[in-house]
Symmetry: C2
Subunit: 487 residues, 2 copies
């Protein structure tokens, strides 16, 4: 006869293979089964074992059998027991908690000087304030709101976003046009699915551009068509000539990675094109909040709301860890973006509510203001160091965002990237972002892309020094001379 | 000459259209621009206005101009100012905070008695404990971890999940095979993209089944092929006959919506089929943790790990608000699931770390145990009430999960669903989940699907009473008699 408690326990009974009674007393068989589960990796380090009475009920044995088996494994060093808390599986060597394992986990290179573009200042993430907002959201969401969420996102967040985008980005958006999503790539994926359903086959992307955008277009079953970017931004004249293309992904406020701001005449041309072909411009507004020489250029969406979908996210303004973004799309596209059939699910409603509170309390505006000031100071510092160590190179793309371009006419950027990696400096070459390799000899053929978002202020001089040395070494190798690598 | 502070302010200057100086003094023009922003909806109720010195710097005017304009709008009732806090846009009528607006937001029906299947007990969501875990995660994640996340998910979460799935579900999984995702539909979408890339064109789904699965398969560009379910589960013999189908989505532990547990012989047949066609079974393990008459059936994945991808999520065990799930796939599929090119991004790393802590601390096991007991009691209560009010109907599918089937041979289930809605009771008909309408007269042709996950214990008798009345009224209408609707 079993009780409810026994029936509703976890499936430890089926998990542990207790062998046949012939193999010895039950407590020894249990200890053996637990040992095998640990050494075989089925019971991970740090896992909590069930309380002895729970496991005993589950195995339909006496509690003594379990405490005996646990004691055996504690004695053998597989388990650890502390008075007042549950028995746990001990880490293989020393007391490695959840945190301790973090670094060995990744297997990724974490360079001392990280100049890879696209990562914001993670040290400025407002951990405490964000945790407060999440706690308030978790506590105060209605029971109902903890259920399946509104496919377009929390209505009060959409209202806050509509207001923020009007105020901060000059957008013309009703909250009904806004769809909350997980970030820019999720936004592009949803729009591309909608475009495919509407008969589109080819989507123009900027070249050079963010590689992930091209891959996402292709993953949605569409063909990315690379259109060159020059010093005024997207070559709209070449876009016009791309037959069958009626949609484009473009970053007018601060092109990635060139940093070019789309020239006013090009903006007008692009809006005209979209109207003429009855097409869609996907405006990637990824770091538009950070402009240093003047007010941010308003969103193109505000100029042609019928033909522009404005895409934004918190990945550059707060952290990619939050995974929250939005799409302000022309009304005829919003259904396609939220239809469950396109596979797009909204981000966690707790995070949506937390961000609503973050915006409504003014914290987001304050955070943006402080970030802008911090990035501008760091940029100015970086520009001074670059001028001191690598004088006479016309840096470009530095008016906004947190990366800039450094031309290297005299040596290949790829070699500098490799050489810098030897000195624990990570950065990128402009060629890394091209759909097709640029012809050598063209003005932008050898150019470094230098990010300074996630670089501490103190690290700026050291990073530039190592970069300058890397360039010297590559130049020397190119010219057949040797430069000693500093120790 | 502008200062950094002015340059780095928000774009209020471009947002507010201040007209020409001829239109009156600056403070009056500013007040007008702010008023238009509120009435036009560009400044939402509850928005915080910038501090007067910030806006003054931004507009390059004196602070007095701003305080004067704000005072005007406070006087007019557009803004509200409280000493010590920022000026805000007042809600249109009365003090409607973020929370107050929640209900009017939704425009969704929130019935008094919600028997729609698939929603867990949202009132049991461990709000405080979850908020504690999120706070710990937000505080303790390394700076590096706040950056772009590991595409397969946080490694320490994958280790915890591998251990949990082995322990709780009898799965055979290495953490390297696990991919963390946003839930079951996200998992299906990723797998389908991988399958399409590998040349699959048709995917079998259960009929009746969860409608969203069919839609997701179609959204991935594949054709869903409906295969009938009988009282032993999926008709594997019919699956065999479906030419060109080498992948299937199935819920062996508790089929949705029939509640059938896949019979042992069918399990073996299904594993054989997958091996023979070198195919993939996507095992939807949505509510397998909740089995009442015996230990949960182990996952099919444990039997045929080379050909089964096990899909799980927190949507039924914690809340759909968390949006966290996992895929334990055969190794040859894991690359396809994490390749950025398939557009799948991992869920927020903060939530991943919070759930890692939730599992490692034993809270998840405790929560599951408590939930299982609660659902079992509620199910027993519901079964007693159904027997008392609607005697002699052979309820089925009640051995697991938190929904069951009630056959209605004598009247159409769709009409009962509509009639019950009039009495503020929401539930579903089995026909709602069919790929093609069942022939009338077949045993399952008229069947209600009754969920009890998100029903309070107190509401059980009232819900059954109203349901019984609705059935009576439909029966009476079918037979041409009238039954008075109770007030």
């Amino acid at each position: 006869m079993t009780t409810d408690r026994e029936r509703t326990g976890p499936a430890w009974g089926t998990f542990l293979e207790l062998e046949s009674p012939a193999e010895g007393p039950l407590h020894a068989r249990l200890a053996r089964a637990l040992r095998i589960a640990v050494t075989g990796g089925r019971l991970a380090a740090g896992s909590t074992l069930p309380a002895s009475r729970v496991l005993a009920a589950d195995l339909r044995c006496s509690r003594w059998v379990v405490t005996e088996a646990y004691a055996q494994l504690v004695a053998e060093g597989y388990f650890e027991a502390r008075s007042g808390s549950a028995t746990r599986v001990r880490a293989p060597a020393g007391p490695a908690g959840v945190r301790g394992g973090a670094r060995e986990d990744r297997g990724r290179w974490t360079p001392r000087f990280d100049l890879l573009p696209g990562v914001p200042d993670l040290r400025a993430f407002p951990r405490k304030r964000w945790a407060d907002m999440v706690r308030a959201a978790t506590t105060e969401l209605t029971w109902d709101e903890l259920g399946y969420p509104d496919a377009a996102g929390l209505p009060r967040l959409r209202r806050q976003l509509a207001s923020y985008l009007a105020r901060g980005r000059g957008a013309r958006v009703e909250s009904g046009q806004l769809v909350v999503c997980a970030g820019t790539l999720d936004a592009v994926m949803r729009l591309c699915r909608g475009l495919r359903a509407a008969g589109h086959t080819d989507i123009a992307v900027e070249d050079p551009g963010w590689t992930q955008l091209r891959l996402t277009v292709a993953a949605a079953g569409l063909t990315p068509v690379a259109v060159p970017v020059d010093e005024h931004g997207l070559r709209v004249d070449l876009l016009r000539r791309a037959a069958g293309v009626r949609a484009v992904i473009v970053a007018p406020a601060h092109q990635f990675p060139t940093g070019v701001v789309l020239a006013p005449s090009r903006r007008a041309e692009l809006a005209d094109w979209a109207r003429e072909v009855d097409g869609l411009v996907m405006e990637d507004d990824y770091d538009a909040e950070f402009r240093y020489d003047r007010h941010p250029v308003g969103a193109l969406q505000g100029v042609a709301p019928e033909h522009v979908a404005l895409l934004g996210s918190l990945s550059k303004t707060l952290s990619p860890a939050v995974r929250l973004g939005w799409i302000a799309a022309p009304e005829r596209w919003t259904d396609a973006l939220t239809a469950k059939a396109t596979g797009g699910a909204p981000p966690p409603v707790i995070d949506q509510d937390a961000f609503t509170r973050f915006v409504a309390s003014g914290s987001y505006d304050r955070h943006l203001r402080a970030s802008r000031l911090r990035y501008k100071r760091r940029r100015d510092h970086l520009l001074r160091e670059l001028e001191a160590r690598l004088p006479g190179r016309p840096v470009s793309g530095a008016a906004a965002g947190f990366h800039l371009l450094l031309p290297l006419r005299d040596c290949p950027a790829g070699a500098v990237v490799d050489e810098a990696a030897q000195a624990d400096v990570r950065l990128a070459s402009l060629d890394d972002y091209r759909a097709a390799p640029a012809a050598t000899g063209t003005p932008t053929a050898s150019t470094l892309v230098i990010g300074y978002g996630n670089l501490t202020d103190q690290a700026v001089p050291g990073a530039v020094q190592r970069l300058a040395h890397a360039i010297e070494r590559v130049q020397a190798a190119e010219h057949g001379t040797r430069v000693r690598r500093p120790g």
